[in-house]
């Protein structure tokens, strides 16, 4: 590994933060404490962590319906995230967006998105603005395998390449769109095959290996920042829970075997094993990290539970901006 131990710990921390947040959200949802839909990122932590770990704070990302992981990886605050999931006024979106619209513009996180495919064109716009202003920022569009079947993806990828924008297209290929396997909805196996059609380079990385993802991201981000234009990273990954919620609800769209095989390649535990084997970490150190972050989650749940609900007068607030901005 050419990635320094400090960076390895950083990536590990991002992943554990995501895992703990998602597991807590899953438990709360099962206890009927979270309203609405919940799409968990468990299993895919290496993708958001490896890529966001290659970004600066002022770089931008767009996200998906499965967006908590992206926000956490970009530095999201547990308290405000948990409060949003509970629909509280202290949440990131003041209770108006919920899980599917969670966002933090100050971290360059331009929102989870309820419309599959809708994030990529927005990332193109952010990349355009970044190039326009010339401050060297880049944009990353996260999207699923299924989202590449939607027209918006095609238009975004083509425009980004035509305009030679500083953007990275980051595909989380978890082999399913909801309950339908990839091979029923496209005639290719690798999303990366699409990249050539737009004239951008593409690479496949093991999405369960945060170091591999990170190395690919460093290269793509550096290229974008240096004016080298767009590229596509396809991370082969897997969601451990159901499309939404936790349980598989007895739905047999994936075999238990398949799920178990992927779980053996858990991105967090495999990294821990490697770091211990390489003598850059000890079990004790990891246990301390988990304990510290668990504590943060407990604090966040308490913060969210103690927070007030929004009041009815808030329904009509923030539909429009007041004029007089930049």
């Amino acid at each position: 590994m050419s990635i320094t131990p400090a960076v390895q710990f950083d990536l590990h921390r991002r992943m554990v933060r995501i895992r703990l947040f998602e597991e807590a959200a899953g438990r709360l949802a099962e206890a009927a404490k979270l309203p609405g839909f919940l799409h968990l990122y468990v299993g895919e932590e290496a993708v958001a962590s490896g890529i966001c770990g290659a970004l600066n704070d002022d770089d931008h990302i767009t996200s998906t319906h499965r967006g908590h992981g992206h926000l956490v990886a970009k530095g999201g605050d547990f308290n405000r995230m948990m409060a949003e999931l509970m629909g509280k006024s202290t949440g990131y979106c003041k209770g108006k967006g919920g899980s599917m619209h969670i966002s933090d513009l100050s971290l360059g996180m331009l929102g989870a998105n309820g419309i599959v495919g809708a994030g990529s064109p927005i990332a193109v716009g952010a990349a355009f603005a970044n190039k326009y202003r010339g401050r060297g920022q880049v944009a990353v569009a996260f999207f699923g395998d299924g989202a590449t079947n939607i027209g918006a993806f095609h238009e975004a990828a083509n425009m980004a390449c035509a305009l030679h924008l500083p953007i990275v297209f980051a595909c989380e290929n978890n082999e399913y769109g909801e309950f339908t396997p990839r091979d029923k909805t496209m005639a290719i196996t690798d999303i990366v095959d699409r990249a050539a059609g737009y004239g951008m380079p593409g690479v496949i990385v093991d999405g369960m290996d945060v170091i591999a993802v990170h190395e690919a991201a460093l290269e793509a981000v550096a290229k974008a920042r240096a004016g080298g234009g767009p590229s596509l990273i396809e991370a082969k990954t897997y969601r451990f829970y159901n499309h939404h919620g936790v349980q598989n609800l007895g739905l047999k769209y994936r075999s238990d075997d398949e799920v178990a095989k992927w779980k053996e390649r858990d991105p967090i535990f495999t990294l821990e094993d490697r770091m211990i084997e390489n003598k850059v970490a000890t079990r004790q150190r990891f246990d301390d990290i988990w304990a510290e972050l668990r504590n943060d989650i407990e604090t966040a749940i308490k913060f969210a539970e103690d927070s007030p609900l929004p009041t009815s007068d808030q329904v009509l607030v923030d539909v429009y901006s007041a004029n007089g901005g930049n």
């Binding site: 309203p35 609405g36 979106c93 209770g95 599917m100 309820g114 299924g146 339908t180 909805t185 329904v315």
Partner: protein
Amino acid sequence: MSDERKLPYVMAFNEAVRQAMEDDPNVFCAGEDIGAFGGVFGTFGGLQAKFGAERVVDTPISEQAIIGLGVGAAVTGLRPIVDLMFMDFMCVAMDQIVNQAAKLKYMFGGEARIPLTITTAGGGGLSAAAQHSQSLEALLCHIPGLKVVHPATPYDMKGLMAACIREDNPTVMIKHKRLLGIQGPVPEERYIVPLGVANVVRPGNDVTIVAWGRMVHEATAVAEKLAGEGIQCEVIDPRTLQPLDIDTIVASAKKTNRVVVVHEAVRFGGLGAEVAAQIQEHAFDYLDAPVGRIAAPFSPVPFSPALEQHYIPDGARIEAGIRSVLFRTPVGA
């Protein structure tokens, strides 16, 4: 009704599709997760097992192409049923719906026939937030060439869905997500509820309530409560929103002299405005009060249940609206 077999709304939909597929080999279905999985709301459950993957097609996540598939197959002789998982997603496919499906026949000088049914799920009340909760029927009803239905009961669901499939025009069938589980009598035999015919859900002489979708149930509950005070509300469910059975509504307005329209969509530019305008055109001299409109405020649908409960009209707001029309007290939104 002699046949007292009960079915949930979702299965009434399913039965209409199944019977149409049995009767007509040109009928097929396509949409996201509708095949092996039966649709995220279970509406297409069991159909792929019965009719095969050629006739119940799992599509990519490609709303434009899903509607386009329907338009192209319809204009070349099939009778497609294509599904948009949530009504909000029609925005992704708006060109195919508005500029293609709705207009081909007219633009081609009448030569085309588009026997296409677009099915989708609308409405809020699930904390599904701003992109999964909308009631966008007014956008569709504004487009000449489309027909739009929104059943409130299992009986109407089966009959209207059967009618949509037999229609030689593009129709949009809006299921309400909060009504999927409601039970009601549904005859096993094939029947049709004709498009464009309203249902007088409950007769009354004092005030007319026009409501559709889930609001029919809310309005009926209020009507029953007010009956205890001696106020007789006539509840009318248009069932089809385009073409709208304005005759039934106007006849009721002439009888009761007071009308309230209730819908889940935002009030501004909602279908209630059209209903109110037509009532004043056709029954101005009969009205004893301005037509009331009870609808959502002018904001996206909020996520938090604490906000959404103030957003979607409920019994209390409907009751207040009716009283204000009855007693000419000031109208709230």
